[in-house]
């Protein structure tokens, strides 16, 4: 009799534990049942790249002085600067400039060091081609204005997590007018700037 009761006891315990473990295992699933997926449905929705995104490099031929600083700071000397020395004027004449984006690692060194700011990083990141040789952009291709995800009306641009309002995780149903969390540098400056003389005193003498 005792043995039989023990068996029933352990059976109930096991059944209870099985239920508990099921619940434990699925609790994460249940936790997420009520929220919508935050996945970006790529060709129809695209994320707006962040402010300092390093996409395709934009190049302005007219500003370039053919100094080759970009070549020197590049980890693999990638930019090809085709210039000839004009003997009469003793000036360099730039004929062509090209960067191969199949090889570029988008480190941004060339942009950082360019003395005339003729190179800049853009937010263009869609660089798929049929042939890898098409990734060798010459100065005309590099000089085109970058495309961005907000120009095509059939694409829904979505904000990245850091640019959403406070506490919001899902970019899908946020109106564009909602401000991002935190202040932009110029907003911080406005907030810091004393408005009147009274405030100025306060800022300069915080102990008063």
């Amino acid at each position: 009799m005792n043995n039989f009761l023990q068996q029933i006891n352990s059976y109930i315990k096991e059944a209870f534990n099985a239920g508990k473990y099921l619940y434990n295992g699925l609790s994460v699933t249940f936790d997420h049942l009520r929220r919508r997926p935050v996945t970006v449905q790529y060709p129809y929705e695209k994320l707006i790249p962040s402010e300092r995104y390093r996409g395709r490099i934009h190049y302005e031929f007219d500003k370039c002085i053919a100094c080759e600083v970009c070549v020197r700071v590049c980890p693999i000397n990638l930019p090809v600067v085709d210039w000839v020395m004009n003997k009469e004027t003793k000036k360099k004449e730039l004929r062509n400039y090209s960067i191969d984006f199949g090889v570029c690692i988008f480190c941004g060194n060339c942009v950082e060091y360019c003395p005339t700011n003729c190179l800049s990083m853009t937010e263009e990141y869609e660089l798929a081609t049929f042939d890898r040789h098409n990734l060798n952009f010459d100065n005309v291709a590099l000089g085109r204005l970058p495309t961005n995800v907000t120009t095509d009306p059939s694409v829904k641009p979505l904000r990245e997590l850091a640019y959403l309002p406070k506490g919001v995780m899902d970019p899908h149903e946020i109106p564009a007018s909602d401000a991002r969390v935190g202040k932009l540098p110029e907003e911080v400056y406005d907030w810091m700037r004393p408005e009147s003389n009274e405030n100025k005193d306060k800022v300069s003498n915080p102990t008063n």
């Binding site: 080759e68 930019p79 600067v81 660089l127 081609t129 049929f130 098409n134 291709a141 059939s154």
Partner: protein, 158 residues
């Protein structure tokens, strides 16, 4: 419906206008379907992306020089910075193997091209009566197209 599309209207529009701006749904697949139908109608086709083209006319149709990157760290200076300029065949050269056939050049991502570059494409078409160009100018809910000249008028001159 696009699976059942016969491409007849497209073919007629292509014949009359020679240069079309097309707006295709973002999931893609329309270009290859239409290309197949145009091949069945006796076109020779070539598809490529407009992004990364230098001067489109020269890169697509003429012998042009490219400066390939050297691979690996080289000496800095005249030799390190520039290898040789390589003359390469035009990218659309396979269209011109058979001269008696109609040719269809399909350019993806035409949004990157400027107004004058688009106008130069129209001019290429009007100079060569066998050559037609279709250029994708963006996404759309459903497949639609219009003559490239009309697109330029709507987009840039308004």
């Amino acid at each position: 419906m696009p699976l059942l599309l016969t491409g007849k209207k497209f073919h007629n529009d292509l014949k009359t206008n020679k240069c079309l701006a097309i707006f295709a749904p973002l999931e893609g697949g329309y270009e290859t379907r239409l290309l197949r139908r145009m091949r069945a109608k006796g076109f020779k086709t070539f598809i490529t992306s407009a992004r990364g083209l230098g001067d489109p006319e020269v890169f697509l149709l003429k012998l042009h020089g490219i400066r390939p990157p050297h691979l690996g760290h080289q000496s800095v200076g005249r030799n390190g910075a520039l290898g040789e300029v390589q003359q390469v065949i035009p990218q659309a050269s396979e269209l011109f193997n058979e001269n008696d056939k109609n040719k269809l050049l399909w350019l993806l991502e035409g949004q990157v091209l400027s107004q004058s570059e688009l106008e130069s494409l129209i001019e290429i078409c009007s100079n060569d009566n066998k050559l037609t160009i279709v250029i994708e100018m963006g996404g759309s809910r459903k497949l639609e197209w219009k003559p490239l000249s009309n697109y330029i008028l709507d987009e840039f001159e308004s």
